[in-house]
Each structure stands twice: as C-alpha cells, then as structure tokens.
Symmetry: C2
Subunit: 147 residues, 2 copies
DNA sequence: TTTGTAATTGAGATACAATCTCAATTATAC
DNA sequence: GTATAATTGAGATTGTATCTCAATTACAAA
C-alpha cells in the first residue's frame, strides 16, 4: 500500500513531470483538509505557509491530483468547483442541503451495482459517476415548519 | 392536463409576473428543441426569429422555467450549463461520452427507489437529484481500440 | 378604452472563476 | 556540475453569468 505521496511521485515520474515543493505543499494541504473544499479555501490555508504560492499553481496542480485519482471533483456550489480527497476512501454519494449547505455522505452498494448494470446495458465504459441529491436536511425542515 | 404554456402563464400570474412576447418565444423555443441545449444554442435559434432578443432575457427567463418545473438543468459541459425540457417527460439519468459528447438517457426504477430510501434514512427532503455517469460510449471505445 | 404602475427589456457594463502568457527559476537525468 | 525541459508567480485574458438603467410594455382598475 503506497502513501498518497508515493502515488503522486510515481504519477509525476511516469509523465515526465517534476515533484516540486509547491506540489508537495498542495498535496499535503489537500490531505490535511478532511472535508470538501474549493480552490480558494485551499489557497487561503496554504498561502499562510508559503506567501509566494500562487493561485495559478493550485489551479494547475489539482487537475494532476484528479488525474491520478488522489482527489475528485464533487459538486459545484455557488459557482465554485468543490473537491475532496478520495485516496484511501470509499466512493460515496452526496446529499446537499439547499438552505444551510450541509453535506451528508452516503454509500449504497445496491445503487453502485445498478449503475454497473446500466453501463453494461449500453456497452458504456464508465470512468466516473456522481449522484447528487439536493434538498433540505432535517434541521432546516424543522426550522421551516416553525416559521 | 395543462399545456406547458398554461403552466407557465399560471406560474407567472401567481407571482405577479408578465407573460411577454419574449417569454413566449423562449418557451416555445425550449419545447421545440428535442435535445439538451445550452443558453447560447437557444439564443442562436431564437435570435433568427427576433433580432432584438437579448441573451440577458434568456438568462433571466430560464430560471423561471426551472422554478415552475418546465425545464431542468441537467449537466455542465465545457463550462456551460445544459438544460432540457421535462414537462411531460419522465425523470432519467445521463451517461455522457467524454470523447464525442454523446448523451445516453436511462431510467432505472430501482435506483429511484433506493434514492428515496436513502433520503428517508437521513430524514432528508429531496427537491432534485442528478445521476451523471461519465465515460466512453461503445463507438468511441472501438475507435480507441483501433488506434 | 384609457390610465397608472410595476414589471420587463436590450445594450452595455461588470463580476468573477478559470485559463493563459512569459520571463525567471528550478528539478532531474546524464 | 551541466544541460534542458518543466515549473513558477504575476498579471493579463477569457468567457459565462449577472447586474444596471433608461426606455418600454403588460395588465389591472377605472
Ligand atoms: Mn464526499
Ligand atoms: Mn436528458
Ligand atoms: Zn440544512
Ligand atoms: Zn462517444
């Protein structure tokens, strides 16, 4: 079992890319955040450690991390792409509260199976799939009743 | 069973909004397109009939059509939001080919049921859900083998 | 039908995430 | 160490989407 850093180093080497201090910083940042994040949140966190780190470098690095399956695009909230690290985590679906923004994660094996079935039916080779349910969490439902 | 125009007129009236010629044109345009479309494609089509029609009016009208469940945001392709009309159509999921852009539509009752089950489990009140599978269609798989 | 009024429109300005440019810097293989 | 191609930061640029505002218009009430 490789570490995420090994995975990234291997990916970079295989593609003739360099393991720079900036990329290392971003990699560590991504795996130290244990929730969904967008690029600006990540930049804000990392910029404190390295005042020179540019947003452009993050924009350039995250697609690399997606490419080698360390992180994943999850949702788009308020026009911003959200990411989460997935290395060492199971795939899961997301329930997003439209009021408070709360995200519930759920894994349902039977849905995964059915998706595979659908792909077979259409001779479709899936690379990625995303199930997002938008609505209202329990708390927000109660608040709305109270009004 | 109301027509989509009745639906829209009622929605507008209920909200103190006006049924303008522009909105009528956009409504008809949306229901004469029998595939997924983005705002620019719609504008290009409608602009021929009414040279004055502004993109801004389309940007302003589509959210109204979403609000009254006549159309739906489906996917985001190349940074553009894609819509489709849903009035009179069953809900379905989308398989998108990353190479040629082909979209396969699929309805799987069992997945729908499981989604409801998940929502119950978390006391979550769903408003909308979207399942998107990205990958390669059969044709594109064959092309890639040939290379 | 006429009138009053708030909603709507088009054109252009603006916002803003994401991408690109380019000269200076740097990781890595030899 | 050297050579070289990749990488970086800063700022410019792109392109979708939103906003502004004066002029227009739908529509309800008279
Ligand atoms: Mn998640
Ligand atoms: Mn569809
Ligand atoms: Zn909530
Ligand atoms: Zn294809």
């Amino acid at each position: 079992m490789n570490s995420y850093e090994d995975e990234f180093r291997n990916y970079l080497k295989e593609n003739g890319l360099k393991f720079t201090p900036e990329r290392q910083l971003i990699l560590k940042g991504v795996f130290s955040l244990h929730k969904h994040f967008d690029i600006d949140q990540l930049w804000e966190k990392l910029h404190r450690k390295d005042r020179r780190l540019s947003r452009a470098t993050i924009y350039r690095t995250l697609p690399l991390l997606v490419e080698c399956n360390l992180i994943q695009e999850t949702l788009r909230c308020q026009g911003r792409v959200q990411y989460e690290h997935i290395f060492g985590h199971e795939h899961h679906d997301h329930l997003v509260c439209l009021k408070c923004g709360k995200i519930i994660e759920s894994r349902e094996e039977r849905i995964e199976k059915l998706q595979e079935e659908i792909c077979k039916r259409y001779h479709f080779k899936a690379v990625e799939h995303r199930l997002g349910i938008r609505g209202y969490c329990q708390k927000c439902q109660n608040k709305m009743k109270g009004t």
